[in-house]
């Protein structure tokens, strides 16, 4: 299982999914109406490390964080 958390303003409970890649994950997420509008603007961390490669694999126990647009300071 892969755990997916939605950070900041995305009002969505965490999900547990059987997915083996970001591609498979994105397929699931793009089907959720409440999440879809965020995805183009979101960055992704896997186990708290930012991931920029769309071919990044996912393995059992990975934690995926979905990070919407930021504004610190």
């Amino acid at each position: 299982m892969v755990k997916v958390e939605f950070l900041g303003p995305i009002a969505r409970e965490p999900m547990e999914l059987e997915v083996a890649s970001l591609a498979e994950l994105s397929k699931v997420l793009f089907e959720e109406e409440s999440i879809r509008p965020w995805l183009e603007k979101c960055a992704v961390a896997v186990n708290d490390v930012m991931v920029k490669d769309p071919n990044h694999p996912l393995k059992e126990g990975d934690r995926v964080s979905i990070l919407p647009p930021v504004c610190g300071g």
């Binding site: 303003p9 591609a23 994950l25 997420l29 793009f30 930012m50």
Partner: protein, 157 residues
């Protein structure tokens, strides 16, 4: 204490500034530049409010500390979590460096990269309600990777 500090509510700016000054008093740095961010009264807000994802922020900060060390410098930062009323401060970032040029360059890079890539979400607080500051927020580096991943998959179908 670590060089990255998070606090519930507004920062005690004088305490932070003075403590950082004391911590590096014998480090032989010639330049110390703090940046203090204070909540402006505008658009009828009472406060700003912040969510932070600390593990990624810590990784971001540690990478910056390593980058500063390569130039003989050191960075520190403090940020608020939760509500911060107008005219109080939510953010202090600082650079210590042997020389002024490096300090002036790093404080600008550090503050700008923080703004673009620190995992912090800002909300206006109006009549006690939190409203995501969407128009002032920017996608982080690497945003859209899920859309790219989906596209890649489609091409393979």
């Amino acid at each position: 204490m670590s060089d990255m500090e998070l606090y519930e509510g507004p920062l005690n700016v004088k305490e932070i500034f003075g403590r950082w000054l004391d911590e590096e008093a014998e480090s032989n740095y010639g330049a110390y530049i703090p940046f203090v961010g204070t909540i402006r009264a505008e658009d009828g807000i009472e406060a700003l409010s912040f969510d932070i994802y600390e593990p990624v922020l810590r990784n971001w900060f540690d990478a910056w500390q390593a980058k500063a060390a390569e130039r003989g410098a050191r960075v520190k930062m403090a940020h608020s979590v939760g509500d911060v009323p107008v005219h109080t401060s939510s953010y202090v970032a600082a650079v210590f460096s042997p020389r002024r040029r490096v300090a002036l360059e790093l404080i600008e890079e550090f503050v700008e990269d923080f703004k673009a890539n620190a995992p912090i979400w800002k909300y206006d607080v109006v009549e006690g309600r939190r409203i995501y500051a969407e128009d002032r927020s920017t996608p982080m580096e690497g945003a859209g990777v899920l859309a790219d991943a989906k596209l890649g998959m489609r091409n393979e179908e």
